[in-house]
Subunit: 272 residues, 2 copies
């Protein structure tokens, strides 16, 4: 049995989608077909959505789920006439907040937000540029500006984690690959020594590492399980010896890796 | 008057934060001090949070706002004893969903989710690698695999938009910078011609472009308003002439730019 779930927004849809996914994940035995519809900002677009919802109901024989973050009352009205299970975040929570604060919300007066993002944009761009410029040990002379420097073997997830922290949180994250040479010496490369308090290790299950490397360079020594296993064991030993915190990324998403490192280090987001 | 708002989660905190920010944004005249606390997954950690909430109440003379997505009942209990305005997403919406589906949720049975992210991880890594490999016109021979190719002048937001689409949606996004030479010819570079249906333009307000470029190369011709203005006018004229859709990024966040392009082109997320 498949249920359709509609995540609908007059903006990006990111909030409706995040909340919807969290709620639906609590029902692991039900299969949902998820549809995100952003920028539903006119009555005409909403009428098209309402028709899609009715069609889905008719087709599946089950009411779709409707999760929305739409502000405009006229547009809401169109959707409220559909026969769906409505998860109405704003109307549920805004009223108690208005009572608490003693003021009307923009939601109640039907006003949408057009936030000029210039400052946030600049912070993000700076962090993204920093991550790219300082990726994979390409440059080490900006490490004094880094919030964090990730270290680990090639293909353990350093680059996407740095980029995620930059885009999502405005964190300046560099990364440095530990090579066989560093690992055999069992000491930190000289360029990292002045920044020991900024270092954070990533490790990974050798089987998964081999699978990832195999995609990049099939049947190479680099991708062999022996090689991956040796590198991971070396790196874990060195990180322990140097007293550098590390996280095993194998079963974590990039969101989890990033937020765990930040929580561990007390790093706060620089953009909101 | 400042109100403290606590976004609390036993996981990354990303959902609680996204929802909290959306709700609080409806009260534009109130200043909130936002605190995100992820990985509150033990009673001990929750007790520490409860103490922080009490301290905030005492300090500000106003009840803090508490927005949480915690599953475990014992941990919830600790937080429910605090004197805060509680925005309780799960307990509000899970019950009607259980009735609708006729089953108990993992939430009701107090089970948290440990999702192995391997498949999602691989899709994301592939897309991030694609964005990096195909950044700034570095390589054009993989354009047949691209979902979208962004074009625009230097520093108009192409790179962060590509990376965001890769990380958040698993979209393969390349980008190609339009140089003065391309612009003066008023025709597409040859390498883009076979992929006209994948092209999407970014433009930007010349003043903002000059400010961004000035950060990178202060007082250069590259950063001068005259130069920025000429490039932007050229690029907009060429995009119109070629019939290529474009978006002016000036007042949009990277989330908005990405989701608008995807909605416009009917691109669906490849990871959920």
């Amino acid at each position: 049995m498949t249920r359709k779930a509609f995540f609908i927004s007059d903006g990006t849809g990111i909030t409706a989608e995040a909340l919807g996914n969290s709620l639906l994940a609590q029902f692991e035995n039900i299969e949902f077909e998820k549809v995100t519809l952003p920028y539903i900002d006119t009555v005409e677009k909403a009428e098209k959505v309402a028709a899609d919802i009715s069609a889905a109901h008719h087709e599946d024989g089950e009411r779709p789920i409707l999760i929305d973050t739409i502000v405009n009352e006229e547009i809401r009205q169109v959707l409220s006439n559909t026969d769906a299970l409505k998860i109405d975040i704003f109307s549920t929570f805004i009223k108690p907040m208005e009572r608490e604060f003693g003021v009307d919300s923009s939601y109640s007066v039907g006003k949408s937000h057009g936030i000029v993002e210039a400052t946030r944009y600049k912070e993000r761009i700076d962090s993204v540029n920093f991550a790219i410029d300082n990726d994979d040990g390409a440059r080490t002379k900006q490490y004094d500006q880094a919030d964090i420097i990730l270290v680990g073997v090639s293909r353990c997830g350093k680059t996407p984690t740095c980029l995620y922290m930059a885009l999502q949180f405005g964190i300046k994250a560099a990364n440095y690959p530990l090579t066989e040479e560093d690992l055999e010496k069992e000491s930190l490369p000289d360029c990292l020594k002045p920044y020991e308090d900024k270092l954070y290790g990533l490790t990974i299950d050798p089987f998964q590492l081999a699978a990832i490397r195999h995609e990049r360079r099939p049947n190479s020594r680099y991708a062999s399980l022996d090689q991956c296993d040796a590198e991971v064991r070396f790196v874990e030993r060195m990180l322990k010896k140097q007293g550098i915190d590390f996280i095993n990324t194998t079963t974590f998403s990039i969101e989890e890796i990033s937020t765990r490192i930040m929580a561990d280090r007390g790093l706060k987001r620089r953009i909101s």
